[in-house]
Amino acid sequence: MALENHNNLRRNENKNILSFLKSYGIDIAFVIFCIFLALYYTDFISVLRVPSHDGTVYLMNAHDWLNNEPLDEIYRPPLISWIIAGIWSITGENWLLVKGLQAMFTIGAGVVLYILLRKYKGNVFAFGVTALTMINGPVFLFSTQILTEGLALFFLVLSMYFLKSRKEKYWFLAGITIALTFASRYPVFLQAIAIFAVESILSRKPKLALRTISSGVPALILIALVVYLKAGTFTTALSKDTTIDPFLSPYYLVNSINIWGLPFLLVPIALIYRRTYDDKFNYSFIVWFVVSLLFWSASSSNWQFRFAIQYTPAVYFLSILAIENIVKSGISINSTIVSYHGAIRSRLRRIKRISKYELFGDFGNE
């Protein structure tokens, strides 16, 4: 009796472990992935001995904010320099202390993206998109430097997370994160606005959009005002980088495989499936991808791999969506085959009948 109880207990335990693994197996895999990613970043960053040119400019601007000196390059977005200055105000000025700063934000962006997609698309889908984004070459390599791409990616994904919920307080927070996206990297603001516009239309609740505007506009004004008071002007880019060419550059399409790898080939497949447009959740990702691609391709002279970093999640979202569409549209493929088969048979029957009447010279008198 005791042995039987013991066996039952063990069987229940095994059942519980199995059901736990079934429910959280992918989540555990994602946590392990994040740990390995953090170790990979640590390994890569630990051997960095010289900051990049742009990275050094952000360090100099941080020094200037901290010591109340004129900014070295006034058109640079201020957020990364503010964060560095904040850290240095506690620790003292040492560039080695902030080497890994951007990597933390990039990993943070991955975690937020996973949580967002897990909720709406399931954990396998979420893991696929997040893992592809995190191991993407430009995303990884530029996140090892003191730059703004990972920072902007984090606030952009966080904005989307807030906007995908339908709670008022989250839309209020989205206004602040959109403003922080602007402070991280000025041009990425457009991507945040595109996502905000799509979600506002889909929600059909002007009250939610007003919430975002009510927090976002003052935050934007505050950021611009602080920079203006410091620099005496507010410039978002060098004039040579702001010229737009109506004849879009094919740079990002020509280099798409080098930037995103072979998964990019699946993006057009995702866009031709009707299923893609049946789920309204996908709309903001589609718009995010299209607006970003058009925006960066419209530049008349400045095209770089790293400009593609912020919309990399949208590219991989569409790639994984294409796979999901292929798997789930099996039923429609079968029914298509059956209907084509039926149509061909009926046509054949008709041809036979026509031939018969023609042979007897009685065509049209059926």
Binding site: V47, L48, R49, V50, P51, S52, H53, D54, T56, V57, L59, M60, H63, D72, W95, G128, L132, I135, N136, G137, P138, F140, L141, F142, Q145, N255, I257, N258, I259, W260, G261, L262, P263, L265, L266, I269, F305, S319, I320, A322, I323, I326, V327, S329, G330, I333, N334, I337, V338, H341
Partner: protein
């Protein structure tokens, strides 16, 4: 026969999906491995892993009086931050030869020149390449006095002072 073909075709989407997943996995890993080759800042010619670079900049420029502007041929921000000197890059058409470099420096009161010689080039700015090529650097000695030279893992840093004309 037709039924058999249909039954086989019914599974085609699984094969397509499997192929797509394989393509995504292999493609993503391959793209990651190849990305360093496409990004110059991380390639073999980059100095980001140079153990000696920052110390070399500090050592080379410590003899330059404070507040003196350094005319630099590359890595302007890094040299500015770690040498704690103002820097200026001679480009945008003002400097095209050693003579124009000299005139430009004299007009602005600059005395010191730092050449970052790396991978056979003294600069990445096309217009300045002849001045800071190997041959160009040898010709500089008529108007510039070489104050120092230091080697790092990825570059050779040279410090010159303009010879004052009497």
């Amino acid at each position: 026969m037709t039924r058999l073909i249909i039954a086989k075709l019914k599974k085609i989407h699984y094969w397509i999906a499997g192929a797509a997943i394989t393509m995504v996995l292999v493609g993503a890993v391959y793209a990651h491995a190849q990305s360093k080759n496409h990004l110059g800042a991380f390639g073999d010619t980059a100095n980001i892993n140079d153990d000696l670079y920052i110390q070399a900049v500090k050592n080379l420029t410590k003899s330059v009086p404070k507040n003196e502007t350094l005319v630099v041929t590359a890595n302007s921000a890094v040299i500015k931050y770690f040498s704690d000197h103002p820097v200026k890059v001679p480009w945008r058409g003002k400097v095209t030869s050693e003579k124009t470099l000299l005139t430009w420096m004299s007009n602005l009161g600059y005395k010191y020149l730092v050449v970052v010689y790396t991978h056979g080039k003294g600069t990445s700015i096309t217009e300045l390449r002849p001045i800071f090529s190997n041959k160009g650097l040898r010709a500089l000695s008529a108007d510039f006095q070489k104050l120092g030279e230091t080697r790092t893992e990825s570059a050779k840093l040279l410090l010159y002072k303009k010879i004052e004309q009497l």
